[in-house]
Symmetry: C2
């Protein structure tokens, strides 16, 4: 699983919105707060606005705001807005790939893999991230010291 720069930047931007929910933040505000490339970030913010995760206001004293409360925006929502489906197998959705012979069960493995991802990314909201308090079962996944070793 490769987390792209788009996803990383989008989530970091969302964390800033959750921390300052009553201000409109400009692309420049966010770029300097998190050290992100401004023009690239712009296209990411528009993806988020297209999906209703942010609202935008043009003109002077404009910027972006949360489209709904940070507690109602999951990290999976953000990933899908900027990068499309959470999981794909050779570009196809996991449930649609078919195999023959002894590989027949592989479809189920891919569906399970996506489900495992969803258990983390749909459970964690932007509000959780900004507060630093992750859902219990997500926190539990990080508690095993093995989880922190390079693998």
């Amino acid at each position: 699983m490769q987390v792209t720069a788009r996803v990383d930047y989008a989530i970091r931007a969302m964390a800033e919105f959750a921390a300052q929910p009553d201000r409109a933040l400009t692309r420049k505000d966010l770029a300097t707060a998190q050290g992100l490339p401004g023009k690239f970030l712009e296209s990411i913010l528009r993806d988020l606005a297209r999906d209703g995760i942010l609202t935008s206001q043009r003109g002077a004293s404009g910027g972006f705001r949360l489209g709904r409360p940070a507690a109602d925006i999951t990290l999976a929502d953000v990933v899908r807005a900027v990068d499309g489906p959470l999981a794909a197998v050779r570009g196809q959705p996991p449930e649609s790939v078919e195999y023959t012979g002894p590989a027949r069960a592989l479809t189920r493995v891919w569906v399970a893999t996506r489900a495992a991802l969803r258990q983390v990314l749909e459970a964690t909201t932007v509000a959780d991230l900004a507060s630093g308090t992750l859902p219990e079962h997500v926190e539990r996944l990080t508690e095993d010291t093995e989880a922190w070793r390079r693998r």
Copy 2:
């Protein structure tokens, strides 16, 4: 998470080995059995052999064999052999990326995400795949009908 053709092909090849553990299989055998591009498959098989997952024998009546029992080869082993680390954030290992401000907890999210992946891919062996009987908690992830909807 994008499952690449390399990973997909590698796992399908491994399923064939698990189904016929006592024969040496050639790249051509595997390519026709699973309908894979032969030359591309060759480089995948050599990756698997480099990691000891397969052994190879050159010359007439040569081919590839399992390097250890199929029940001792996890899908994670196969993924790592052909595609490198299971998870990366902008090319870096999840535990090494650092964030500032309200994004500070994001490192933990990425580590948890990788751990969730590992719970599926390290639990499932090539023997499980070929037999069609996945580990209980993997099977359970696929039982929710929601798991089969496009997302």
